[in-house]
């Protein structure tokens, strides 16, 4: 059974159909990619899957349970986390603090005036583990606003991982990264894949073909093609393109 499933999703804004009959399923332990040209409806699709928008029709199932229309905070508590195309970080705080704030159980501790987070070694250790996983252990005490663009992306993924998700949604992780940043990000994603089920929207087809186990192509608000990178690469027009073996 798929860990996450979307069935017959339909969404309109005014008179405009943005999602039309979207069916998707993501298997546990896999990296599933969603790609499509600009304006294809990828981000709207993501927003419906992660509870930001309610679909007009259709169902979203996580681990067999219907979560359609659940608010984002409830979805996070069920074990689904997402990182955004536009990065959301607390700039004035250190890298480590950004992670600590996202850890589950932190809210209870924050409301206890007798408890000092700085001195909570358990929390600090957990946060350091996550920084290790995203390749930022040396930057723990740095203010997050002084990170490079690529490091900010990695930190943002770290923040999403801190919620200990069973499923991590990542929105356009390569946006704004150069070739070097992109290849480091590919390494990071490959290592995360071993522990976490990931769904990634990505504009950069080459990147997605390298890291994904399965790809769904979205255009006109619909899934127009689906398969493993090898299956998609077998298409004659893809073979003729920049991604193909003819180049």
């Amino acid at each position: 059974m798929a860990l996450f499933e979307a069935r017959h999703l339909h969404k309109r804004f005014g008179q405009q159909v943005v999602l039309e009959e979207i069916n998707l399923s993501f298997e546990e332990g896999r990296l599933s990619g969603i790609m499509g040209p600009n304006g294809a409806g990828k981000t709207t699709c993501f927003n419906v899957l992660t509870g930001r928008y309610k679909p007009d029709r259709g169902q979203v199932l996580f681990d067999g349970e219907d979560i359609t229309g659940s608010p984002p905070e409830k979805i996070v508590r069920r074990g689904i986390s997402r990182s955004f195309q536009i990065m959301n970080l607390f700039d004035e705080y250190t890298v480590l603090d950004n992670i600590v704030i996202a850890l589950p159980g932190i809210r209870k501790k924050l409301t206890n005036p007798m408890h000092a987070i700085d001195a909570d070694s358990e929390m600090q250790d957990r946060a350091m583990d996550i920084l290790d996983r995203v390749g930022l252990p040396g930057r723990a005490r740095t203010n997050s606003k002084s990170l490079s663009y690529g490091e900010r992306r990695a930190l943002e993924i770290g923040v999403a991982l801190a919620t200990e998700p069973r499923l991590l949604f990542v929105d356009e992780p390569t946006a704004g990264l150069g070739a070097d940043g992109t290849s480091r990000l590919a390494d990071l994603i490959q290592s995360l894949k071993e522990h976490t089920t990931i769904v990634m929207i990505e504009h950069d087809m080459q990147f997605l073909f390298d890291v994904a186990d399965k790809i769904s192509v979205i255009h006109w608000g619909q899934v127009i093609a689906e398969g493993t990178p090898d299956e998609l690469r077998a298409n004659p027009w893809v073979r003729r393109s920049n991604l193909g073996e003819l180049n």
């Binding site: 804004f13 005014g14 008179q15 405009q16 159909v17 943005v18 039309e20 009959e21 499509g36 040209p37 304006g39 087809m205 192509v217 255009h219 006109w220 619909q222 127009i224 093609a225 998609l232 298409n235 004659p236 027009w237 893809v238 003729r240 393109s241 920049n242 991604l243 193909g244 003819l246």
Partner: protein, 214 residues
């Protein structure tokens, strides 16, 4: 008795200028029927009436005369918010469509369909670099296999645009100055004199498909 999938019945659309002495500035005339699922290529210069034809077929623009009947339903008498369950217009980019609402919903027909029967693709962006063309063509074929009627509107300015039309379309409509010319296959399309004049050198350029063994 099965109604044809699409019957464009003596459709006329005119645009005029002048408040008192009306002068016709544009006239589109169309009269054809398509009985079952097909992939239809639509071609023509800018301003020839292709998009107007699409708008009339989806009910987002009102005809001056005649009607459009999709699977037995007059599209202009279907509830505004259900018209795209019969025929959907995929614009080049997202544009909000405005229907001139003239009648309350209870006086109008239901679409009777959840997923559109007719899919009109208005100048999709084809780029040979990124490989999306292949997925788009497969999608058109899938719609066709699921008994949908597909219109693909292309304004060819590169040779591979013609290759795409030739590969995927079963019949063609060429629109020029509001007049429709019909062709039953690609060869008869490019044999039409106005089509030859319109395409010019594109017809003699080498195809990207040649020499690949596909």
């Amino acid at each position: 008795m099965n109604a044809p999938m699409l019957h464009v019945d003596n459709l006329v659309k005119t645009y005029t200028k002048g408040a008192f002495r009306k002068q016709e500035t544009f006239r589109l005339e169309a009269d054809f029927r398509i009985d079952g699922p097909e992939i239809v290529g639509l071609m023509g210069p800018n301003g020839s009436g292709k998009t107007t034809l699409f708008e009339l077929m989806t009910g987002s623009n009102s005809p001056t005369g005649g009607k459009v009947v999709c699977a037995g339903r007059n599209i202009h008498n279907v509830r505004y918010d259900e018209r795209d369950r019969l025929a959907i217009h995929y614009h080049q980019s997202y544009q909000v469509r405005h229907f001139a609402r003239r009648k309350p919903a209870f006086m109008m027909d239901r679409a009777g369909s959840d997923y559109p029967l007719i899919h009109l693709f208005d100048e999709p962006q084809f780029n040979t670099q990124d490989g999306y063309i292949g997925f788009m063509l497969d999608f058109f074929r899938k719609l066709r296999a699921e008994n949908r009627l597909v219109f693909l509107c292309v304004h060819p300015n590169e040779r591979f645009h013609l290759d795409i039309l030739k590969e995927i379309c079963e019949r063609f409509i060429f629109v020029q100055k509001g007049t429709l010319h019909h062709a039953v296959d690609f060869e008869s399309l490019v044999a039409l004199q106005p089509v030859q004049a319109y395409l010019g050198n594109l017809l003699t350029e080498q195809s990207v498909l040649e020499g690949e063994g596909t």
